[in-house]
Amino acid sequence: MIAYIARRALFALFVVAAVVTGVFALMNAVGDPAAATLGPSAGPEQLADFNKKHGLDQPLAQQFLAYLGVVRCVRPSSPRWHTDPGQRGYCGLLQGDLGESFGHQEPVGNVILTRLPRTLLLGVLALGFELLLGITFGVLAARFRNTWLDTTIMGTAFLGISLPTYVTGPIFLLVLAFWYGWFPVGGYGVDPLDHVYHALLPAFTLAIFGAATYARVMRSEMIETLRSDYIRTARAKGLSTRTVTWQHAARNALLPIVTLMGLSMTILVAGAIITETIFAWPGMGSLAIQSIYNLDAPTVMGVVLVFSVTVQAGNLLADIAVAALDPRVRLGS
């Protein structure tokens, strides 16, 4: 088990490194961050000043190595910078320094620390909705299979999988927030309870795809389970249908959901980018979009790093959870 985790962690590290390198190359392949940050009216002196301050006047390879923290700092804006190269410190990923955001003019770490809890709130709520709706409706569809209820649930699930967030988001905003006024029209709110209230609609939007997937998987798994011998035995013992369905069948049918939960991190992360933009939710997703538009490479790199680590960790945790829950699964074998 430990060897397996170590192997997976190493692989995850490799993936994250590849992502960071790729994004760094992409962000430096297009446009001029100085012009994008300072605007069309910036003069050559201002542009040169900006490039110097952020170390963008250095060779690309040196910038990248300094970003990783394996060579000395190239950013005069960093606290570890010193005019004497001998006394200059390191200011890269290995030192826990994600650089300075061009747009926010503060360390990327601070920007992410402000935004991350909001995306986590959205993600946790969305995951809650996914599980609640997916499992409940999956079990109901299986329990009443081949009835109108089953068809309706599966039809709706099909719709949920087919409709992208950028379609459902504006529709929910229009109907539930604007027409009915049940939810606020986007935004973040002022106090913790208000944040949760503001997060409900975007989280629900974000959860639709996952909930629909869970419902479909849960249904097929439940149907399979309900045909098992031990369920027949439970029924023969005289247990009620509810007890058989929820306590015996549903618990055993949950296993694939655990695997899916790990995989759904990717969808939650990708979905957050669109959902947060639609609902003006100031989290990591909207930060990513704004930073990409503004060619704010350090912030984009920071966001991508957090996202890729989250996805890798989610997948790894899902594997471990499956092994822990199902004695038949032996990791690494």
Binding site: L159, L174, V185
Partner: protein, 606 residues
């Protein structure tokens, strides 16, 4: 086979869900008028929170570096200048006691400061401190210093010694003299009729040196000014909060707080505005624009006006085929401006010359104006030697978003008629800005120019003067050079007689219209809409979105309800035959006007 049939029959409820969702999206029966109205206070009153927005993010709150619409919306709340503009675009004194006295040769300007104006509180100075003439001198020297590299420098280079100071050759600017605690004098190296306009620009707003000494590079995030609102908090990319300045020298009733929401998409902003979550709006979707424009109840709370902005197709005069004036003219005559306006829902005024109608120098009936004339365009192509059209396609760059692509397609369509094939290249705004400002790089692109101040010099000098051509980040992006035009513009800049200046700019207009480095297409129509309980606000002719004079007529009252089940049923009925007749009352927006008890609409920070 049976299974399929059975599934189809049982899928009916699911497909009803589809229909329901599509119906919800399609049958828009929301109230077409405002949902709130004011309390009817006869006099302006204090209180409340005014919430406004933009769809992008603010770069800085340092007036010496800010040079964009978004930042200026906030800067106008925080700072004041020596001069300001009134509602008719006339210069008026602000921090200055009166308008400056000007010497006969038009080179020396003496300002007398208003007494008792105080900077906002700042660390170390909890009550702020008084603004004196020395602050004006320090602020301008900071602005014009080479270390700051402000984009505002070109507007003040006519001050004697400004160039030498900027390049570090002199310690102070010779042309700025502090005569006493409240008097300051500026001497120019040559007469410049735009100097007072420059002094009214946000770049010239005085700032306290203590704040700059303390904050350093971070000063743009912790602004201190003399304006009617003080900075409270800024989460970058999310929102900026301001509180009222209790010591403001020209205090008048207004909201206690202002909240500036950043990065709110047009669709969300418009829904939020109609729900009462925003107090004013200027960016919305085309569908919402139509709603505000046609709905009777919004009429008293909206204003539509032609902006002092020009949009057109820019042709690089250094690159073939646009190094040939006849090809440029052919393009200028091939664009069907009225057709474009129709396609865009009349969101702009078609034009055929450079200066917008509100700027002195605009010629109402310019004889050689650019217009849609296909025969003339074809004749120009023949004269250029391309009677059969161009063999190679041209590449047209457009910015991001739907509108960029839309205009690209319109150009493609129009130029195909004169044998020019166009490939539209859509790029991000940052790439667009960078590449179009490089010599011999981009053949043609859609672009616009907005005024820095309401004067023709603010249009001509940066866009067409050969002095504005740079090897990188060039302002003259058509790379058009004409010595005759340069001489005219230089003469106009120093001419003191307004009528003679206007004539010089009219001559300049004729030259650029004929040489066609741009195909001038339109002046956009802007529409600002505000809530009925927002009073004292209207778009400013110079500052555009200037909320400092607004006040809230609170408590606001709700006058239209959200949808209820009954109304929802009626709106759904419109999906079926004869349904529209049943729900006609709702389609016309005659929404229920039942009133709920009044409630305070303040502190609605969303």
């Amino acid at each position: 086979m049976r299974l399929i049939q059975k599934t189809n029959a049982r899928a009916l409820p699911a497909w009803l869900c589809v229909s329901l969702l599509m119906g919800l999206a399609g049958c828009d029966k929301r109230p077409r008028g405002p949902r709130y109205e004011g309390a009817g206070n006869p006099k302006p009153r204090d209180g409340g929170t005014f919430v406004f927005h933009h769809e992008s993010n603010v770069r800085t709150l340092d007036p010496h570096l800010a040079y964009d619409e978004l930042s200026n919306m906030a800067i106008r709340l925080l700072y004041d200048g020596l001069l300001d503009y009134d509602e008719q675009s006339n210069l008026i004194p602000s921090l200055a006691e009166t308008m400056p006295t000007v010497s006969e040769d038009g080179k020396t300007f003496r300002f007398r400061l208003r007494r008792g104006v105080r900077f906002h509180p700042m660390p170390g100075l909890p009550k702020g401190r008084e603004l004196i003439a020395e602050d004006i001198r320090w602020s301008l020297e900071h602005l014009l210093s080479g270390d700051v590299a402000s984009p505002g420098f070109p507007f003040f280079r006519s001050i004697k010694g400004a160039e030498a100071f900027h390049s570090g050759n002199e310690k102070h600017i010779r042309g700025i003299r502090v005569l006493d605690r409240y008097t300051i004098e500026f001497t120019l190296s040559e007469a410049d009729q735009t100097f007072l306009n420059s002094m009214a620009m946000t770049f010239a707003y005085p700032v306290p040196k203590e704040n700059y000494a303390r904050r350093g590079d971070q000063v743009g995030q912790y602004p201190v000014g003399t304006g009617p609102y003080m900075f409270q908090r800024w989460e970058r990319g999310v929102q900026i909060e301001f509180v009222r300045n209790p010591r403001y020298f020209a205090a008048r009733p207004g909201p206690n707080r202002m909240v500036y929401l950043e990065n709110v998409q047009r669709y969300v902003a418009s829904l939020r505005f109609q729900n009462g979550g925003l107090d004013a709006i200027h960016r919305y979707t085309p569908a919402h624009r139509r709603l505000y424009k046609t709905a009777r109840r919004w009429k008293p709370h909206r204003k539509e006006f032609a902006e002092a902005v020009i949009y057109g197709l820019v042709m690089n005069c250094e690159l073939p085929p646009f190094d040939n004036v006849h090809v440029r003219r052919a393009v200028a005559f091939a664009l069907d401006r009225k057709g474009w306006a129709k396609a865009r829902g009349d969101a702009f005024l078609p034009t055929g010359q450079f200066l917008p109608p509100s700027i002195a120098g605009h010629v109402p009936r310019l004889e050689n104006r650019q217009r849609f004339d296909l025969a003339r365009a074809k004749r120009e192509m023949r004269e250029a030697g391309f009677a059969r059209g161009l063999r190679k396609e041209i590449v047209l760059w457009v910015g991001e978003g739907d509108s960029g692509r839309f205009y690209g397609e319109l150009v493609q369509n129009d130029l195909a008629k004169i044998g020019i094939r166009v490939r539209v290249r859509q790029v991000s705004f940052a790439v667009y800005l960078e590449e179009t400002a490089k010599p011999k790089t981009v053949q043609a692109f859609m672009s616009g120019w907005a005024k820095d101040f309401p004067d023709a010099a603010s249009f001509f000098d940066p866009v067409f003067h050969s002095r504005s051509i740079r090897s990188r980040n060039s302002q003259n992006r058509s790379f058009y050079r004409n010595s005759q035009l340069d001489a005219l513009l230089d003469a106009a800049r120093i001419e003191q007689s307004p009528s003679r200046r206007a004539k010089l700019y009219q001559q300049a207009s004729r030259i650029v219209t004929g040489d066609a480095p741009w195909a001038f297409v339109y002046n956009p129509l802007s529409m600002h809409v505000w809530q009925p309980y927002v009073r004292g606000y209207g778009p400013h002719p110079v500052w555009d979105k200037d909320y400092r004079s607004a006040w809230l007529d609170l408590p606001r009252r709700r006058v239209a309800h959200m949808l209820t089940g009954r109304r929802f049923a009626k709106s759904m009925a419109s999906l079926f035959p004869f349904g529209p007749l049943m729900s006609k009352r709702f389609a016309e927006g005659r929404f229920t006007q039942r009133r709920r008890p009044a409630r305070e609409g303040t502190m609605r920070l969303r």
